[in-house]
């Protein structure tokens, strides 16, 4: 049996990354790579699951049968995406229950965007259109990430995401075409969700220390600012088509670069929310912890039942 030295293993790893190959669970990888990918996947999974809360907040009050159906399907997809990502993360040797414990302990984070409240029905439109819209830009890029299971989960997720954004945009369009009260609600939601959605792409490239390492290992395939600009360019036009005002007095189309230039992002707000002081940080965690704890007797019963079944199978 041919055994490789540490240097040879690293060389092989780097060569795989170099030629855009995939790193699989059984492959050798630098410990830092493993830690970084694991952290990113679990936080991505947690985000999907926590994201079910702000949307679930309006599922019982959806204003039509069609709206309720679509929102239910969307929330279901989000749960499913969380599951694909936990699945992918578990290939690196950590149990889902450990990941959940880290979430509850505050050691693992989730996307800051879900710490904002859904105050009226238009918020559901804003989330689908802006938040999912931003997520799609990021996820399309991640389809080419270097860790195999993560890339495959992303391909699956991207296939399913496109209706999410359309759902959100449709809600906004219908409201902007409706009564004065509906238009007001839609613009109000736009005003509250626009800037936080831009912050989803993370700090500016020059301020992001994680980015360099992640890009070297092709975990990340495009920079924060690049992705952010892609999102801005497509979304501003969409807003104008339905008559929404982008809440940015400095917003200007740059004739030279052919991109939309925006005003300064309030990074204080971003870091404040990341540190735990957003409007819903406590609520999101308390909710997740409460229902996880309330469900313990169910999981215990299920395990006991499984064990009894296995005993029976052995005896037969």
């Amino acid at each position: 049996m041919f055994i490789m030295t540490e240097e040879e293993k690293l060389e092989q790893f780097n060569a795989t990354i170099e030629k855009d190959g995939k790193i699989e669970p059984n492959d050798w990888m630098p410990e830092q790579y493993r830690k970084t990918v694991l952290r990113q996947m679990t936080q991505h999974a947690h985000s999907e699951v926590i994201g079910m809360q702000p949307e679930g907040n309006w599922v019982l009050r959806a204003p039509t049968l069609r709206a309720k159906k679509i929102l239910l399907a969307k929330i279901q997809d989000e749960g499913g995406h969380g599951l694909y990502l936990y699945s992918a993360a578990e290939t690196l040797g950590e149990d889902r229950s450990e990941m959940i414990q880290q979430l509850h302990d505050g050691k693992a984070k989730y996307s800051h965007i879900f710490n904002y409240p859904t105050l009226n029905w238009a918020d559901i439109g804003a989330i689908g259109w802006l938040v999912d819209g931003a997520a799609i830009v990021n996820q399309v890029s991640l389809q080419r990430t270097s860790y195999g299971p993560y890339a495959r989960a992303m391909v699956r997720i991207c296939k399913e995401e496109s209706f999410h954004q359309r759902q959100g945009y449709e809600i906004m369009a219908k409201m902007m075409n409706g009564t004065d009260a509906q238009c007001e609600m839609a613009q109000d939601a736009m005003n509250r969700w626009w800037w936080p959605s831009l912050m989803m792409f993370g700090p500016h490239d020059k301020d992001s220390w994680h980015t360099q390492e992640s890009m070297r290992w092709k975990i990340k395939r495009a920079s924060n600012d690049d992705l952010r600009q892609r999102f801005i360019d497509k979304t501003v036009d969409q807003a104008h088509v339905i008559g929404l005002t982008v809440p940015d007095k400095d917003l200007k189309f740059n004739e030279e670069t052919k991109h939309w230039d925006i005003g300064p992002i309030n990074w204080d707000e971003f870091w404040n929310v990341v540190k735990g002081n957003g409007l819903c940080n406590h609520k999101r965690m308390a909710h997740h912890i409460q229902f996880h704890n309330e469900g313990k007797w169910v999981r215990d019963a299920v395990i006991q039942y499984g064990a009894k079944l296995n005993e029976q199978i052995k005896l037969n």
Binding site: M1, Q76, Q101
Partner: protein, 96 residues
């Protein structure tokens, strides 16, 4: 840690579409086969992706390791005459 005690076993999910081979889709947690099949159906076939589902307890799967790869797979790489691209086909010949 309290939560570790209620971790359900892991199952790997394979799905077959009409006429195709079984493809690995991901994993689910469940305590018994019935539950694993239902979970797999809910998680992996929401868009009508499958006809048949296999679920296998993850620890029942035997796998090659990276160290095995050399002896398992390199010899096959040397036998390139097994690949159709090895052969020259006269121009104009069809269906071959």
């Amino acid at each position: 840690m309290e939560n570790n005690s209620d971790q359900l076993p892991l199952w790997e999910v394979f799905i077959q579409k009409s006429g195709g081979p079984f493809k690995h889709e991901g994993s689910v947690h469940a305590s018994d086969a019935k539950m694993a099949l239902q979970n797999a159906r809910d998680v992996y076939t929401r868009r009508g992706e499958g006809r048949t589902i296999w679920v296998v307890p993850a620890n029942s799967i035997a796998s090659t390791t990276v160290n095995d790869e050399g002896e398992f797979f390199d010899p096959a790489d040397n036998k390139i005459y097994r690949h159709p691209t090895f052969y020259t086909v006269p121009e104009g010949a069809k269906n071959i």
